[in-house]
C-alpha cells in the first residue's frame, strides 16, 4: 500500500533541541564528553561551543547555546498551523 514511485520530498537532517538553562550547559558538555557505553555513544572531539560524537559509529554533532530558542520557532513547534 506504499508507493515507491511517488516523488518524495528531499529528506532533511534530523535536529533535536533540548530546551534547558544556561547553568546546565557545563553539565551537558560533561555528559557528552563522557559518552554512554550502553548506547555505544563515544565522544570524538569538542570545545565549549559544540562537540562531535558517534553512536554505533554514526556521526552526531552537538551545539551548546546560551540563548533561548527563537520565539517564533518555538511557537511554530507548538502550534504549527500554516494555512
Amino acid at each position: 500500500m506504499t508507493d515507491p514511485e511517488a516523488v518524495a520530498p528531499e529528506p532533511r537532517r534530523l535536529r533535536v533541541i533540548l530546551l534547558t538553562d544556561a547553568i546546565h550547559l557545563d553539565l551537558a558538555r560533561e555528559v557528552v564528553r563522557a559518552g554512554d557505553p550502553g548506547l555505544a555513544m563515544d565522544f570524538v572531539s569538542g570545545d565549549a561551543d559544540g562537540a562531535s560524537f558517534t553512536v554505533n559509529d554514526v556521526p552526531h554533532q552537538v551545539q551548546y547555546l546560551a540563548r533561548p530558542l527563537n520565539e517564533d520557532t518555538l511557537w511554530r513547534a507548538i502550534f504549527p498551523n500554516v494555512i
Partner: protein, 184 residues
C-alpha cells in the same frame, strides 16, 4: 494531546545527525540518544525540530510506551494541528515531509475522533517504517472497539500554502455493519 512545553528556558543543546536511508532506525537511535541525554541534563522540553515540541514528561511517557508496548513514539517526531476549513475539523500533520514523506490531511468528526487519529497514527508509522509514501488511490480497513473504519488514501494538493502533495485520508465509519451518515 501534548501540553505546552515550558517556554522559560535560556539555553539550548542541539543534537544533529543525518537521517540516512533507513528512517525508522535513525529516528529510534536518535530518540535513544535524546532520552539518555535528557535523563542527565535537566531540560524543560524537547523540540524535534522544526515542528514537534514535547515536555520532557511527555517524551518519557512515549519512550516508555515504545519499549513496554512496542508503540512507535510518532507523536514525538510528528505534530498534529487542527484547523477549521469550511466548517470542517481538518487535521494536518507536520514533520513527515522533513523525513522525505508526504504529510497527512484529513477531516475528523466528534463521534470518531479517537479512532480516526489512531488510524492516522498507524498510517504514519507504516510510512516511516517502510520508508515509502502510501500509494495513491489505495484503501485500508481497521477495527476499533465498536466500529469498523475504512480509509481511502489519495494524493492531493495540500490545504497549506506553498506545500507539496499530501496523502488525503477519507474515512468511512461502519456502525453495526452500516456506513454511518455524515462521517466522510
Amino acid at each position: 494531546m501534548r501540553s505546552e512545553p515550558h517556554p522559560n528556558h535560556d539555553a539550548m543543546v542541539i543534537i544533529e545527525r543525518d537521517l540516512g536511508d533507513h528512517k525508522l532506525p535513525a529516528l529510534l537511535a536518535l530518540t535513544d540518544v535524546i532520552h539518555a541525554l535528557a535523563r542527565k541534563i535537566p531540560a524543560h522540553a524537547i523540540v524535534w525540530s522544526p515542528f514537534a515540541a514535547s515536555p520532557v514528561t511527555f517524551f518519557n511517557e512515549r519512550y516508555e510506551a515504545l519499549y513496554a508496548g512496542g508503540k512507535l513514539p510518532v507523536s514525538l517526531w510528528i505534530q498534529f494541528a487542527e484547523v477549521p476549513v469550511d466548517g470542517k475539523r481538518m487535521i494536518l500533520t507536520f514533520g513527515l515531509e522533513e523525513l522525505g514523506l508526504y504529510e497527512l490531511e484529513f477531516e475528523v468528526t466528534n463521534d470518531h475522533f479517537a479512532l480516526q487519529m489512531t488510524v492516522a497514527d498507524i498510517l504514519m508509522s507504516r510510512m516511516i517504517a517502510r520508508n515509502e509514501i502510501i500509494k495513491d488511490n489505495s484503501s485500508d480497513r481497521f477495527s476499533g472497539v465498536s466500529h469498523e473504519i475504512s480509509v481511502k488514501i489519495s494524493h492531493r494538493s495540500s490545504l497549506r500554502k506553498k506545500w507539496g502533495p499530501v496523502c488525503f485520508l477519507d474515512f468511512t465509519v461502519d456502525q453495526g455493519g452500516q456506513p454511518a451518515k455524515g462521517v466522510h
